[in-house]
Symmetry: C2
Subunit: 315 residues, 2 copies
Amino acid sequence: MSKSKRLMDLMMTVNRKKKFTVKELATEFNVSTRTILRDLQELSELGVPLYSEVGPHGGYQVLNERILPPIAFTEEEAVAIFFACHALRHYAYLPFETESSSALSKFYFYMSGDVRDRIDEMKNRIDFVIPSRQAKFPYLSILLDGAIRQKVIRIEYESREGVSARLIQPVGIYASSGLWYCPAYCFLREDIRLFRCDRIRSAAEDSSGTQPLDLRHLYLGNREALLPSEQELTSLYVELTEEGVHRCEAEHWSATKLHRREDGTGWLEGSMPKGDIPFLAQFFIGLGAEATVQHPPELIDNIKRRLAEMMERYG
Amino acid sequence: MSKSKRLMDLMMTVNRKKKFTVKELATEFNVSTRTILRDLQELSELGVPLYSEVGPHGGYQVLNERILPPIAFTEEEAVAIFFACHALRHYAYLPFETESSSALSKFYFYMSGDVRDRIDEMKNRIDFVIPSRQAKFPYLSILLDGAIRQKVIRIEYESREGVSARLIQPVGIYASSGLWYCPAYCFLREDIRLFRCDRIRSAAEDSSGTQPLDLRHLYLGNREALLPSEQELTSLYVELTEEGVHRCEAEHWSATKLHRREDGTGWLEGSMPKGDIPFLAQFFIGLGAEATVQHPPELIDNIKRRLAEMMERYG
DNA sequence: TGTATTTGTGACAATAGTTGTCACTATTAT
DNA sequence: ATAATAGTGACAACTATTGTCACAAATACA
């Protein structure tokens, strides 16, 4: 095996192993320890952050960095990766410790001139906007860690009724239009609940010894499907103007219920839990003349009551 | 210079140049053409997609791939890049020709085992949600290209009044909560307008010979600041409950106007163009009891009129 | 305190790889 | 035809790589 090839392999091997001894590698690569020592020195000079300790239980270690072997990306792929990372700058809070900007500048730095030019041209011409928020999300890493390692987390949560302490076991976290949410099993309510992370006033791993549940079968993708809806259902029918259709497209919950006509108008039709009436009433009021609720009567009543209240407030 | 080092350099050089001859490289690297030929063959074996043609004007070419030299990413950086790209899968339409998934799988494939494990653990525990839409955005690349190369584009645009043909010169494109928008100079209105890309029925480079304007000073980041607002202004004051504050945080336009009290409630205060009254009226109606408009009277009147209309509609 | 384990350095000879030169062949645009 | 280009093979000169050995230094552990 040629030296260059061995060096590449060595790079990958040490990255995989993290910790190793010279003798180990010598056996693996069928060369002498002296050669491996020389190779490691060379890798060091090429930028692989190696660290070694002498003595029994000593050996080599690769520090926090990981080296990727030469990867071939097409120009389009490189550009897509760049802008994907670029979009992360809109998030003031992320569950990763590092700033994505450091990865971005490395990526940018190593790219060949013409790809770099292409990116420069596009930089001010394309963007993935996420609403910027004043809200703070200091506990994302703790929640994510709790979800991954199936830990119970003690939080102080600010709900409408005030701040309360709760034990939760996170299913995961997700960002949606600039806010972070954490679906989690709540030991207080004994059910899955959705928490808005900026309303969490404190979070730490629980030390009271509450046994975590086995929720490995639950994850972000399926948590909705697995939750048995015990609520009473009723049917929904709403007429929509063209603009109303466009507005409803934005809503997750309406995706399965939305129908369109050829002229652009449409309607919502499907079943809904009765507990959603307050939310839906306020939502359809927000659509104004673009939506006309025709069923259920309870929803129409709720809307009328809300309208009357507002009329009164504005005298 | 050692052979391994020369090979690495060569890799970068051929990536930069795309097209080159053996003689050229021999001069650049101060070695014989025979050596370069042997090196190129070796690069080929290492996976660099080289292609050559003999004869005058012949030479070597690198095919569409780009090779990145070994880049050191920290584990955190690699994870951040992965999830940034992962988030792109929510976009059914992108202005890049390639799927980001191919870049993603390459990235994933080359990552060392423990980073891969880490990603697998996190995959179902963290997400950047973007509302999925039924809307279609087939002309993103044309619009982006128009913005980059300062071209005039002819579009058919569906507005409330029907479909009309227009000449526009795009400033850029951006995605916001699942929809793509294109701010552009409109030759019909003779001003900057914002177009929703799913309402563009057709788009192609203009062939009528309309001279593009020099809009290079305009880009996504500054277009708002440069637009002179000629509208009449009035002052806005709105009381907000705690929930109202949270809801307003989501809105771009309210960021500079939002104030909070220690108890969590707050208010909106600032100036607004009178033309925004219809939009704001509908918006505050959507907030229901969480917002109480106190100024301007025109806005309150508009809200009352809308409420009355809705009351009537729901009998 | 001694011993085993581990990194690390230097020297040297044997071996293996690299390089340049030269003489060719083949293709193709002009 | 001619010039420009890639491509191959052989060989000698040169350079780099490798293994071996000797030895230094640190450290855990019995």
